[in-house]
Point group: C2
Chain length 489, copies 2
């Protein structure tokens, strides 16, 4: 805590990394590409999980658990799927170690698996192989299942939360009788993600559809939500895939329809991951450390007594006791920090750095005046408040902070989103960061050229917004509508 | 549901397996040794997780997440630890697949890891390697961390929930400044497990200490809770280990104490797993299917209307609406099943088989009489109840079912626990199943001989109960006290 955090303006990447480490959110492990999620970081993830899990259940989904390992041949059954994941697979080849007099413990060559197992990079194949046994008739549909799990995609260059070899996520896998129903589900879950991002993470997002080249390996259509970070780079915050009948075909999953005919089943899958931790940090935090939306803060209010001696401390304990009780009765999480081995100044710095939304300081003079000092983390403002009805005022304040963070992020996103008409203008504006709305001729060749020349990708074809046709900024060919470009995480 | 369940008396193992499959709790996957936990089974596990997680947090623990992979050399650092786990390790050796014109997709030989990675069978090594960076001073202690995770221990012969290659669990890993504190923590968590087993699972358990030969690999002392199943076999339901300074030594984790001297840190670890699902099923269920303690039932009350036509069904909907609302207001989970594509008889069979604690049937005559028919799953008794104050009556009934299941299991455990004095008597009684309290001379040789000759193991040296000395039933040598024997899962 002693050192100053590298300012965002100086080195954004360094700021992010320092912040994640020093706010005790996560750290790199000795295992290449794998992170350790520390208690403060994990507590935020738990809040995210609880909120999302509730939203999944409210839309009729149930949880289940499928194997960590996928036989190599399963992964290979859907051609574009294996092509997408083959280069980043952790492969289990043996199932035993043994002692070796010279080298210590070695892999036992006699315990070689007949078929290698892949540590799941995603679970479509193992799940659809299982669904074959579960789906016989239209009465078994829809099947609406979610899984909370760890997955592994081997990465050479990693960044905490944003890109790690192992990460935590949820993956929904649903099965439907018709194409329409499956598309409806894909869109429903995208809307769940949008609501979660905006109402919980306080991150405004743009809903859209990926181009063919950015599609999930094995999907017919990939929907996404895209967010804009403070450094002007985009971050994909969630995806929802319409998988058509691709996995049903690959795993022979058919059902008897109402007309007693056999049909292939329609599929969706959708997921968000611990990557959202990165989005949360990069959207709201500042040069003073972490800033958290109150709805996801592990502890919403820290109360710090300032006493010269044990007697004063005892008086302050009595003074704040009814306040603490009233706050907790409103469902507000509170930490009363009367640890006298640490100084108030140290505590203030700690709570500010770790993103506690509200900090209340209370000293002997407050007791005389019937007041407390309330500091809000988002604006760093302090104000003296009467202790009367403090619980109600703090509840409003937490809501105000939640709203303010969203509005601030929305203003940043709106200011960062511009329409550009020429490729020269595009390249110039791109250097300033942000979302650029531009016309594109719809071909993968032009998309590829723009990516190679500028490092910008098409984040999505927005579902909402301007649909006026125009001409491609690069080739001059007709464009159906503007699409959303940015450099991205 | 059509077929009769194999009765317990006929073939207990078959009964268990059929029940797990047909109550939609879990099934074997195509991946050797790995199970699929189906939604109904997973919903029970979620209830267990929520209860345990609350108990861990109430005792000051926080959650975190550590890597799935453990470098081989880490596992090898603590000698007895690696010896215990080497024979059941899934080993990752490569990180990429590639296309092969002849064989399709193959492991890329160029993507071989320099050091193999082990899929965690338990996380002491990776966690203590991490703790080295977190613990500097006595002020950093105690460190009270839990992890919810999947682990892999390769198994050739597997049984759903009881023994699978991959399973889900929680593992607590704590660090302390003194031996006494660490032992206190080990015992505290054992008591948490006992409370959870008895108050939530409704399974009475015996707390005790393992003999040296049954100790966790790397522990100084392993504490356990042991439960007795309906077939007279024992099941270890949770363990809590005092690890001494073994892992601190292996990973060089020292702290500066209050006297400013460097000391090795003291450790504990403790865990329960999806194995508890097996214990739950085998303790309470019967020849009619699953029986669940109400506190862990995903849905506590199923309400089934019996109507001849849509008009009657609508009337019944109106009749039960206030009842449903009143039940839910009490925090009771209710499913109102007005799906008219399924017959009431089918629904009754389904809810009975899947272990819904209370089933309420309501027909036109009930409306006339102001009644409903209430069936409890544990005793299969039915009674007609007035609808007035039904919510309160059902709340009491759920508590009565929870209590009855525990009392029934306790009676079974008590009846199955006998003291025996001679080895002949021991062998004879063992055939009847149950816990046998017998004198043992305290040597691993005698323990081994008994195990080889009878397949019975020392489940634990009970913490409570008779501590009168005696003579070993096998060797006649002095015995400090009776210990608990059984054949076990």
């Amino acid at each position: 805590m002693a050192d100053r955090l590298t300012p965002r303006a100086e080195n954004y990447a360094q700021w992010y990394n320092d912040l994640v480490l020093r706010a005790d959110l996560a750290e790199h492990s000795d295992v290449r590409g794998c992170m350790v999620i520390k208690p403060h970081g994990y507590a935020i993830w738990e809040k995210m999980q609880a909120a999302l899990d509730g939203m999944f259940k409210a839309t009729g989904h149930v949880n289940a658990y499928f194997p960590l390992f996928i036989p190599k041949s399963y992964l290979a059954r859907e051609a574009s799927h294996v092509e997408g994941f083959a280069k980043e697979c952790a492969v289990v080849t043996h199932y035993r170690l043994k002692s070796d007099p010279e080298q210590g413990v070695v892999v036992d060559p006699e315990a070689k698996l007949e078929e290698e197992l892949i540590v799941r990079p995603t679970s479509e194949t193992i799940i659809w192989n299982t669904y074959r046994g579960w789906i016989k008739s239209y009465r078994d549909l829809p099947l609406l299942i979610n899984q909370w799990a760890n997955v592994v995609r081997w990465e050479m260059r990693t960044r905490l939360f944003l890109r790690t070899a192992e990460f935590l996520w949820q993956e929904g896998h649903t099965a439907h009788a018709t194409r329409e129903e499956a598309i409806e589900e894909t869109e429903r879950m995208l809307e769940v993600y949008r609501r979660f991002a905006e109402e919980w993470l306080a991150i405004p997002v743009i809903k859209g559809i990926k181009t063919a080249s950015e599609r999930f390996a094995g999907a017919e259509e990939t929907y996404c939500i895209e967010a804009l970070m403070q450094d002007g780079k985009a971050l994909q915050a969630g995806t929802s895939h319409f998988l058509g009948q691709n996995f049903a075909k690959a795993f022979d999953v058919v059902f008897t329809n109402k007309e007693n005919k056999q049909e292939l089943v329609w599929a969706t899958s959708w997921g968000v991951s611990t990557r959202l931790m990165g989005a949360l940090i990069m959207t709201h935090s500042d040069d003073h450390g972490l800033v958290l939306p109150p709805k996801l803060a592990p502890v919403q209010v820290a109360v710090v007594p300032i006493a010269k001696n044990e007697e004063q401390l005892n008086d302050l304990r009595g003074y704040v006791a009814p306040v603490l009780e009233a706050l907790r009765a409103r469902g507000i999480s509170v930490k009363f920090d009367d640890d006298d081995t640490k100084k108030p100044g140290w505590k203030f710095a700690e709570y500010e750095f770790k993103g506690y939304p509200v900090r209340i300081a209370v000293g002997p003079r407050d007791m005389e005046n019937g007041t407390v000092e309330v500091a809000r983390r988002d604006t760093l403002e302090k104000q003296v408040m009467q202790v009367v009805d403090l619980d109600e005022k703090v509840e409003h304040l937490l809501q105000a902070i939640q709203d303010n963070l969203f509005q601030k992020a929305l203003a940043m996103q709106e200011a960062g989103t511009r329409a550009v008409d020429t490729y020269a203008e595009f390249q110039e504006e791109l250097e300033k960061g942000g979302f650029l709305l531009a016309h594109w001729d719809g071909t993968p060749e032009t998309e590829e050229r723009i990516k190679n020349e500028t490092k910008a990708t098409i984040r999505c074809i927005p579902l909402d917004g301007d649909t006026t046709p125009g001409t491609c900024m690069v080739t001059g060919r007709p464009s159906a509508r503007r699409v959303l470009f940015a450099r991205a995480y």
